[in-house]
Symmetry: C2
Subunit: 217 residues, 2 copies
């Protein structure tokens, strides 16, 4: 495939994006845009392809209001067009692996038996004693790939975003009933459009110099 | 900013990308493309903006060969045009926070004193006893935002990629001398161009149905 965008356009999008502090509460994402951003989330890469997460989109204003005090009253939670909670699985068992193997068999029109080697590889990595200890962190990390993908995808579509770690996971979990489903809130992302008076929009972007950040050996 | 790409083009790029198993060892990224992908890495979002990571680009074929046996002999390590190791800080101290505060002051032309509140917020989150325990995982997660951004950015430029967790971090750390610098290898990404005979390129993409993955409340 040839490039769908020029190098210059990619840079433009990445320089344009910033962690939006103040959203315009009156502007909502067009349906077509939100539909594709959902597809983008679903198409994110994940370890083994296992997608050990769920994305909770909170549209109900009353639920958003309940989340607000547990996110240091950051107004993005209630003002943004869309508010997404990235929830990771807290344990991995045979069930999740077998469900995934079943899904591969369905999508690729093959048998579960032919996937025995792949199943064994995943089970070896995730269901060993060491694997079980690592599982929650492993799952949490995968949600951040989806977050990185979403931030870049949104910027390219001209949508503002704010990634948010500043919230109390145990309170979010309670409000959303996540533990009963085997998930826990890891990170959030507000999506929408910046308010005209968000002073952070024009602040110079602070990054370490590329030569300090990237080392070539 | 208006969209730089259509919804359809974004979907096309995300559906085109896959975890490339076999790279064409003879095709290298053009300099302009690699330059912008480095900029993309540097422009990734991170918690507080602290960028608690370093990206190690391994160009030396002898070093790549040393990494190979510690990555289950996955040929992407040696065949891809570029091989990047995402290394996260293993501890956070006053030094890193003060260096960052200094950087903000320089870039935004302000004083360190005016950033005292922001400094205190970061120190509260990262230098408390609980924060110190969380720091390595917190830093590791940030590298995955950069990974997600890189995968999407590469796809838009028509560059193939393979994210890789299948390696032995302690061996990579030794080979690259990371512990002495306060970093540890977390995840890798190979970049380049798919080989014409990579059968995975045409395998249908396996994802859980969007309605199972995304829950709207």
């Amino acid at each position: 495939m040839s490039a769908l965008i020029s190098e210059k356009q990619l840079l433009q999008a990445l320089q344009w994006r910033y962690a939006t502090k103040t959203f315009d509460p009156n502007r909502k994402l067009p349906v077509a845009t939100w539909t594709v951003l959902q597809e983008a989330l679903a198409l994110s890469a994940s370890s083994y392809g296992l997608q050990p997460y769920q994305f909770i989109v909170v549209n109900n204003p009353a639920t958003r209001a309940k989340l607000l005090p547990h996110s240091w009253n950051q107004r993005q939670v209630v003002d943004a067009s869309h508010f997404i909670i990235f929830a990771a699985r807290t344990t991995m068992t045979d069930v999740e692996i077998d469900t995934f193997i079943g899904r591969i068999a369905t999508v690729r029109g093959t048998t579960k038996e032919s996937l025995a080697g792949y199943r064994q590889m995943m089970a070896g990595g995730l269901l060993s004693e060491a694997g079980k200890v690592r599982a929650p962190q492993w799952a949490a990390r995968q949600t951040y790939i989806a977050l990185g993908n979403l931030l870049t995808s949104a910027a390219l579509l001209g949508v503002d975003a704010c990634p948010m770690e500043g919230f109390v996971p145990v309170e979010f979990d309670k409000i959303l009933g996540l533990p009963a489903q085997g998930f826990t809130a890891v990170v959030c992302c507000a999506l929408g459009y910046r308010s005209a008076d968000d002073k952070y929009a024009t602040a110079p972007k602070v990054r370490f110099p590329t030569h300090e950040l990237i080392r070539t050996v």
